[in-house]
Symmetry: C3
Subunit: 434 residues, 3 copies
């Protein structure tokens, strides 16, 4: 994490991308998603894919596409008391179309508020039950007067497609690391513009590099998006050796890593190592079958070794799913920190090799191979020598460098340095066939 | 455990059964055992079985049958200073017959007392060494005067049989749960009339119900009885998937559960769950190869997953094996509590199924199956929904509902309710072939 | 450890052997090693073996043999300011020959001192880089005056052999326990004369006894010696079921046991049991791939279950590798204590059998076999009876008596006594084929 000045510029760029995406009215399908993905495509060569309405995806079916033109309520005086053009959250997401004049009593069941947070507009959806509705602050709702209200919702729910973005960055190996973020929330900044921005900029950084692993980035609507992607890519899943779902990475809360169901996979080890060595606070959480799309990626019949990385956690902060999760709630600095943590996760994932000691019978003679000379001047000479002895002792083709680092109580970077010296001295060989 | 009023009546009935059995002079064989089993047979359709003296049972042999008519000591004045008709503990159990006049010095080696508890009559046996003797309070013993004593023991030790009772209650599966209590102690209330009463009334309650498992109740003499039953039923043992030995369940001590040798079997999990959720105090004890008939059931060549449930523990209370373990020492309330715990153990044992998720690829769509509606009104809606997600995630055919309850940190009954909803929605299937 | 008086005599003898060996100038090869082994051969029938210079031993090659006749430095006045005949540590071990007159400036790079311990002569070696040099106290070094110095080192580095001693003590089984100590240090008492003395006297004590296991004692130069022995005995290693490297056993520090890499082998269990029951202080250390010859014996391609037993540990005490590690630093009493611990380790190793219960179906009838009578009078009757029940319950051919002792919470010696009673009653059989 040495890219100080540049990284600070990156934070600003990440924030800027979030700002551009903020005004778009997104949902799990529709034009808002397409427009958002086009913006991301300006930065990375995203493939934008469409899966037709009605496609069977495991237990689910791709729904009708939803698009919205206009939505407002006028009071008896003809004032637009609510208008989605002022805030995307005003519309019940996936609302059916409606046009008519209703009494206050008839209107009320169609209005969603948060009495406990009276000044905030809630975010509500109704994907699988067809109904119409609006969201507003409870303060405004409480002041609505008796009388007639004119309501217009010119939305459409028609056969179309579910749209998502995918970017595949090939590495030396076909084994791949999967990164996924949801893109379906309209005008919510931390949940999920922060994740879209993080994934986009991580991709820009990895793009120019030579990688051991392949990386796949998914920008998908929540739940139905991951289910659709998994169902249409099922034969391909065996290449995936780890991955992360990410969102809520723009606020200043400590990092939270939700482990895989197994809890002891390489993914868990890598992320825990990165968070443990970071000066930023963090907490490690056990898997629960609730949350973001790790619910699908980690479902028992899919069973990928994936976790979820966030700062605040799903549903746990007061701004969650309200109009307070806006562009003031996220900061360039926090986005940059999250990017740096993700970069380091990728770096450690790449470095965490598993080797075989080519000279396992007694210790090799280091001196004749110049290995003592190689470390002679190093300030960390003694720990590096211990690192070499540990790597030789433990490298049986099963234990990774993280495993060895833990057993030896020696920092991972020293173990990596030691293994590189031993590789140069031909005392280690790779377990990979390539 | 909702049968409040009725259960309170049950406690009285359990106490009454113990009271009827108390005066009978029992031993490991003989008429006392037969008469006791006949009384139990009035309540449940017990099979009373006889195994002939001399039958080889593993390393042991069924001994001669012992019966006693009369046993007393008269002092020089002709007063019966000890008479078994006053208390069954006065006779050394399995005493050889004797008739004669002896000096105090000759008598003394045949008298057993407890100097530390001078007012109590001890319970002593001599099954495998033929000798005659009496038990009395140390206070009385200390006051015996020099002189001649007339002694009469009209006992018989002759080929006959070992008698035990067995009640088999078939369930939907041949897999069975084995319940065993010893019946050989004469006029000792907690050890073992409480166990006989508990087993009898548990059987009356289970009798009318439809069960997943079969239940087998054994009323057997200690040690030689379990060895005899195991030796004569060896081919049948593979059906036994768990069980409990029980005694000492009429006093007010906290419950004690002695685990199986393995310590992590389904039996252990079920009993620990029941005791942990009970408001009554309890303690979990590791297996030791000493105690009641679990010594035989858990011996390495038999190896059943059985534990021992009691309130006080084997040999650990001052009334143990003395005349103080009488009908005042046990209470209807304690017997009822023990019965309720046993009923709940059976209930959890029945409910603790292991399922397979029929839709393991991504989450199933709960809504279209009416599962969200099904829980919509429940006060525990949120935890029930989490329970459904956990049951779906964990049900791979290996993990039981108790395992899932523990991993999820959700009460067992909620997990059961969740699994029933999922079964109704055909999202789970049973691992059982039936 | 009951050989009080005699053992005290043994401590004096052990110290005496160390004293005889102290003045000899040893190295990893040469006449000093041969002379030292000849002295040990007076006490045990040691085989003295030679492996020729140039022999390939895994990644290494047996080096030229080093011998030294004379080595001194004279000042301008012709005074011998340093003379190896005064202290063997004065010569850089394996120093190349040299003869000439040099200035102080030219001399200085060839002199080794310890500035932090200015009064001590350090021990330095240069086995694999050919150079000449001397060691002296820093105090003396600091007082060296400008001027010419005459230097003479009449050493030879020529093809010869690496010499080591081996003593094989056959037991009833071919399975063997390997004991190894290094012998290459000149005039250092704790490191390693204490180890040589301990191994020698342990061999004298075991020699007269009838053993279950075979014992092999190696007296070898450090690193190259163990590598040479392993490379030339590779086919034989499968017989080795455990072993210890030992040195630093003459000082008064607490015992330190460095475990095997696995950490849970029989060797670990035995040594931990012995140290735990000893009144002397001790510490158990995890394996690290650094230290003495366990580095080679435990290297992944060799993989013997060996640990290292010492009092002070490798490199951790101020006298380490200096002239202060002399005959005042070790004590007869400490050597004797170390011998007693080693004897007990061998004793427990021998006793730690694994049996099979011959009567696993229910408990055997102890009474008819006289086993209750056998323990009737014992003061430890109750615990011995529990020991018998535990041994019967646990003896499935996999669990050793130490395993059973730990599970039962019963002292090892009681478990051994119980198992001997059961063996006599034919209730156990050995798992060994012999």
């Amino acid at each position: 994490m040495s890219n100080g000045g540049e990284a600070s510029g990156l934070g600003e760029k990440m924030y800027e991308l979030a700002s551009r995406l903020y005004p778009i009215c997104r949902s799990i399908t529709g034009e808002g998603v397409r427009r958002s993905l086009e913006i991301i495509k300006e930065l990375i060569p995203l493939e934008i894919k469409e899966v037709a309405t009605g496609t069977k995806v495991f237990d689910w079916t791709v729904p009708n596409e939803w698009n919205l033109e206009e939505a407002w309520i006028k009071d008896a005086s003809g004032n637009k008391i609510v208008d989605v053009s002022r805030h995307n959250l005003h519309i019940l997401n996936y609302s059916a179309p409606f046009s008519g004049t209703v009494s206050l009593e008839q209107l009320k069941p169609h209005i969603y508020t948060i009495p406990e947070q009276p000044d905030l507009i809630p975010y509500r959806t109704s994907y699988y039950e067809e109904k119409w509705g609006f969201c507003m602050s409870h303060t405004q709702f409480a002041q609505l007067e008796e009388g007639e209200y004119e309501v217009l919702i010119t939305s459409s729910l028609k056969p179309g497609a579910l749209t998502y973005g995918e970017y595949y960055l090939p590495g030396r190996s076909k084994q791949e690391f999967l990164l996924s973020t949801h893109i379906c929330h309209p005008s919510l900044a931390n949940d999920n513009l922060s994740g879209m921005s993080l994934m986009t900029y991580l991709a820009t950084l990895l793009r120019g590099q030579n990688h051991r692993y392949s990386y796949r980035f998914l920008f998908i609507p929540g739940t139905i998006g991951s289910i659709t992607w998994l169902a249409t890519n099922e034969l391909h899943l065996t290449n995936i050796v780890g991955g992360l779902v990410t969102s809520l990475v723009g606020d200043g809360a400590p990092f939270h890593f939700k482990k895989t169901p197994d809890g002891g996979t390489e993914l868990d080890k890598v992320v825990e190592l990165v968070l443990n060595e970071s000066p930023l606070k963090h907490e490690i959480l056990d898997f629960v079958p609730y949350g973001y799309d790790e619910r699908q990626f980690c479902s028992p019949g899919i069973n990928l070794d994936m976790g979820c990385l966030s700062r605040s956690t799903y549903g746990s902060f007061p701004e969650y799913h309200t109009s307070a999760d806006n562009l003031n709630f996220i900061k360039a600095q926090h986005l940059r920190e999250s990017l740096e943590v993700m970069q380091r996760i990728v770096e450690v994932w790449e470095l965490n090799a598993t080797y075989i000691n080519t000279n396992p019978k007694c210790e090799p003679q280091m001196g004749k191979r110049g290995l003592y000379a190689a470390i002679g001047g190093a300030s960390d000479k003694e720990i590096l020598q211990m690192g070499m002895l540990w790597v030789l002792h433990q490298s049986n083709g099963c234990r990774s460098l993280i495993d060895i680092s833990k057993r030896a109580g020696i920092p991972f970077d020293v173990i990596v340095k030691a293994s590189n010296l031993l590789l140069a001295g031909q005392l280690l060989k790779s377990t990979e066939s390539s």
